[in-house]
């Protein structure tokens, strides 16, 4: 494979940006109208992702150690969309047509051969990973909403009963699709360790104008059906660490950390855990009652609520980053952080400035942007 020629010809296409991605999808849908239904009405985000994924594949093309796991993940992840092995040649043909079209006179039989070879390898890695995943897991899980609470205007707590057990590690998340917003998938963390009855909790924060979060909070109710993708994400409790733990949660970033606390409770000798749970206002500390119950039950757990935008709050005021250094001993600890991008960045910065080592800090960043 001539890596340089692949990169050059892709760069010529990528320079057209959105127009190139538009061409690709239109070409695909004209040739195979049946796959159109696998995509949402608006394709804006989809096109962004396509270019991002292709860019990443090209950047890593000679770096097999990172490229192969990335492609395997993509292959597994595409099962939930209903992607089958038969779809791969169609995608390949449209990809080649797009490359040919935007390369214009620079395109040649030779280059087409290079790309065919490269795409064949990519498709093979993806389909093999998908097939292997298929031996143990369904493409997606159907679940019924069995509990739906709205502790505040902007937050909903959903309890769901999947039809078949979902096996996951506390700290992981799944892509969620609801009937009200077909083909729109958004990631939510499981907010509990696996239970005997298999139910899974999600903490949903309504994003202004966010199609899925709004539907999950307002349109979905007990009895609604959801579709869940495979569990993903690397955040999990390091059970081999002998260090105590500090947890930093911003709003619904609490969800994976709550699951991690429950995971620790299942250990014979849980580490000491200090949780700082932050929100803008006291009313938004939606899960505080339950957390305090957990802290009362488990002597190794403490919970400190923090409120950042309410001056007359009676407890700790400030952001999670402000409070974490003030209230929690940090020496020889592991830190687990989840919240908005800004909250995660600020908290990591604070912990590092207080001397915590980078490899003791585990984060999950909820982009909190939706389209």
């Amino acid at each position: 494979m001539d890596e340089r020629r692949l990169k050059e010809s892709f760069a010529r296409v990528a320079a057209y940006g959105d127009e190139a991605a538009l061409f690709f999808y239109s070409h695909l849908f004209l040739g195979h109208p049946e796959v159109r239904d696998m995509f949402p009405v608006s394709m804006t985000v989809q096109r962004d992702r396509l270019l991002e994924a292709l860019g990443r594949i090209l950047a890593e093309v000679s770096n097999h150690d990172t490229l192969v796991p990335f492609l395997q993940g993509l292959g597994r992840d595409h099962r939930k969309f209903g992607t089958l092995a038969e779809h791969y040649p169609a995608v390949g043909a449209s990809l080649l047509a797009t490359l040919a079209h935007f390369n214009g006179t620079e395109w040649s039989e030779d280059l087409a051969g290079e790309w065919t070879e490269a795409y064949t390898v990519i498709a093979q890695v993806m389909t093999e990973a998908a097939a292997e995943d298929g031996t143990t897991n369904p493409p997606s899980w159907q679940a019924t909403v069995v509990g739906h609470e709205r502790p505040t205007m902007d937050i909903a707590v959903l309890r769901n009963a999947p039809d078949a057990p979902v096996s996951y590690v506390p700290g992981q998340s799944v892509a969620v699709e609801c009937e009200a917003r077909p083909r729109l998938w958004r990631y939510y963390s499981m907010a509990n360790a696996p239970r005997p009855d298999g139910t899974i909790d999600f903490h949903v924060r309504v994003i202004d104008g966010g199609a899925v979060s709004t539907a999950l909070a307002r349109s979905v109710s007990v009895g609604s059906r959801l579709r869940l993708g495979p569990p993903v994400g690397a955040l999990k409790l390091d059970v081999n660490s002998r260090r105590d733990v500090v947890l930093a949660a911003g709003s619904t970033g609490l969800a994976p950390l709550k699951a991690i606390i429950e995971r620790a409770a299942g250990l014979g000798d849980p580490p000491r855990m200090d949780l700082v749970f932050g929100a803008r206002t006291a009313a938004e500390l939606y899960d505080l009652a339950d957390l305090e119950k957990m802290a009362a039950q488990w002597p190794w757990l403490t919970v400190t609520p923090a409120v950042s935008a309410e001056v007359d709050y009676r407890g700790e005021t400030g952001t999670v980053a402000d409070i974490i250094g003030r209230r929690v001993p940090l020496a020889d600890r592991d830190a687990y952080i989840c919240g908005s991008s800004a909250m995660v960045a600020a908290t990591v910065k604070r912990l590092q400035s207080l001397g915590m080592a980078q490899d003791h800090i585990y984060v999950e960043d909820f982009g909190w942007s939706e389209s």
């Binding site: 538009l22 239109s26 394709m43 104008g209 001056v311 909190w368 939706e370 389209s371």
Partner: protein, 213 residues
Amino acid sequence: MTHANSELVTPERVRSAAFTPTRLGRRGLDEAEVRSFCEWVSDGLGRLLNDNSMLQAEILRLRQRLLGGHGKDAKPEDVHIQAVHLLSRAQQTADRYVADAQQYSRELAVDAHLRRDEIVREAKVRASMILEEAHTSASEAADTVRATNDLPPASEQQEIQVELAYLRTFSEVCRTHLRAYMESLTRSIDEWERAERDGGLAARGSVIPKQHV
């Protein structure tokens, strides 16, 4: 807010940009202003990208016409390319409609949040004003009792009388405000029902009274 220079600027990235808040008491930028600026930039950028891709499509079309002869003797593949472009334009139109609807719902939600915060803030100020007023009136009543009764000063009996006068006035002031509040609530529920009967609930403005007490 941080970003790598190599990242593509997309309207969505501008819109969802997160900024680190300044600490309390420090000078910082007004969050709502920053947000609305980002939305303005994001909209403009979206339009420009749209225009840009249309222009690019036009350039491609012209270039193809130059290279591959004229429209009259177009080859079958060219027709296919025309179909691809046609579908692309239709998709862009659909994308724009969805984006517009989302923008509208976002604006409504942001507006509702601002109004809610304002109502809560006003209510808090009002509540503390009522408590202050009750305290002032009650203290005056207590002073009057202290000055006018015949009981020995600082005796237990006098203190009880003074305390009684304070509490009586305090509860009276609170009761008066509470009654006024309940009446205004009843009024707004009546208004609400009327609005619903007229079938214009959604079109009507707020039915929550500006001043509760």
